[in-house]
Amino acid sequence: MASPASKSPLEIHAHATSNLRFIRDTMERASTFTAVPGWGGVFMGLTALLASFICLYLPKEWWLSIWLTCGMIALGFGSLAIFEKARRNGAPLDSPGARKFALAFAPPLGVGAILTVALIHAGAYRLIPGALLLLYGISVLGGGAFSVRVIPIMGVCFIALGSVALFVPLLWGNILMGVGFGLLHIVFGAIIARRHGG
């Protein structure tokens, strides 16, 4: 091994820079969940846009079934995309960051499911788009606290849309769901894919 004393200032500088990068990467990987799917988000957005359009042309009674089917497909695909991205980037899914993300992300989704059933039961269909957008927004905002910084911003956008959706007729609720689950997923998915590796 060459004596460290023989290193040029440039080498020492490069070494210090690489050390700092290593420290930052390690701290980030140790504390945050980075396997959020970018392209997966774009695909989820496309299915939601499709659902929103289909709803406009089909009988009104089908509205909820169409959205719930779309939600299932998106949830399944999103999970697959997370596994795929984690595998590709070598980010373990049992890391503390991933666990915190899941613990923050899952409960509002569960509450959303219960609330949807209750609203259907009460015949309050008009409130469903707002409730779904709001609770998904809380999921994203909470999970995003343990992930890349753009995720909480997406959560806030969902909450804003959901707040509006609670006070408009069902037809507009459907359009706002298209804007939220469709456009927001596509826009933020593309940002994540570009900046955070897929």
């Binding site: 290193k7 020492i12 980030e28 503390p96």
Partner: protein
């Protein structure tokens, strides 16, 4: 070593501080943290309150033996504490950074940053 290099290199290459008494005031490079695996362990623990053996292993992608050897060294220097408990029948080893370990880590960070800053200012003296 040139003067510029000496300015940039307050600790590297000085295994025996006594050999260079003139530079005693400059921060010493912490050899214990400087090694890659140990730097990884300390960095990961700095970002979390505690991490288990398995979490550290998969995070740093190193072998059991490698991790336990380096963690032991850090433990011997009281940079971290190691608690062993049982979860059912499975042993569970948990690591935590001590206040001393955190202070040394911050010192090391400041040291690296000062090297980078010194280089920047020597390349752009007008800044």
């Amino acid at each position: 070593m040139s003067n510029a290099a000496r300015k940039l290199d307050p600790g590297i290459g000085r295994l025996e501080p006594a050999a260079a008494p003139a530079a005693r005031s400059a921060p010493e490079l912490d050899r214990l943290i400087h090694e890659r695996v140990r730097l990884g362990i300390v960095s990961a623990l700095a970002a979390n309150e505690s991490l288990t053996f398995n979490e550290l292993k998969s995070l740093l992608q190193i072998t059991d033996g490698n991790l336990s050897v380096h963690a032991r060294k850090l433990e011997e220097a009281s940079y971290l504490t190691c608690t062993k408990t049982f979860e059912g029948r499975l042993p569970r080893t948990e690591y935590r950074l001590t206040p001393k370990g955190r202070a040394e880590f911050e010192k090391y960070l400041a040291h690296m940053e000062s090297i980078v800053a010194a280089m920047k200012s020597s390349m752009h003296p007008a800044d």
